[in-house]
Point group: C2
Chain length 119, copies 2
């Protein structure tokens, strides 16, 4: 199969625009609680893998490597819905979160701290 | 008031990390529907303004200027909850969306297109 044919196999994939580092932000929302649990980054390859396998695979900017979420922690994210935005430069995945949660701190969501007025 | 005192006035503001362009991604989720409606970018100044005024103010990367969401469209976003993530490099705002929706296309959410298998 040519590269062009492979690209056409998933509708919308040719609409995605990557930044100068070849990355696109991926927002992850838990289906059951509707909570936004994290935002990671994807390359075209990890996006394709995510859509093909139904499991969230990010690109780790700190380690500069493919990051199959949950491989070590068990906090696998199963893809239920996958969207791209009007500009094609942000992705949204509705997922079923496995394990304790999405955050390496042990919290369910990475967004567990609210801004607040100091005393 | 010194800059240092001003910084301390909002708890968490000193935890935010900006990218090399001085920007941080801001995810916006509608409170009533729980839908993620958009992702924009903020400078420290527009983040401060957002927290101070209770209304979403982004930084437009295409126009390279402050963008008070809804000024021309009426699609104002009123801030109800404001979070920063575990790394301090992504923000999440739970908002009440005014007007027709968040997207310039007329859709309620910018994430109105799903990836799908082509025929």
């Amino acid at each position: 199969m040519s590269e062009q044919t492979a690209a056409a196999a998933v509708e919308g994939l040719d609409q995605v625009r990557y930044n100068q580092d070849g990355l696109v932000p991926a927002i992850t929302q838990d289906r059951q609680t509707s909570r936004v649990v994290m935002m990671g980054w994807m390359t075209e390859a990890t996006l394709r893998e995510t859509l093909a396998t139904g499991r969230m695979v990010y690109w780790s900017r700190s380690r500069q490597e493919r990051w199959a979420k949950g491989d070590t922690s068990g906090a696998i994210q199963l893809v239920r819905e996958a969207y791209y935005d009007c500009d094609g430069d942000v992705l949204l995945f509705v997922i079923d979160q496995q394990g304790k949660g999405a955050c390496h701190t042990g919290e369910f969501s990475c967004f567990y701290r609210a801004f607040g007025a100091a005393e």
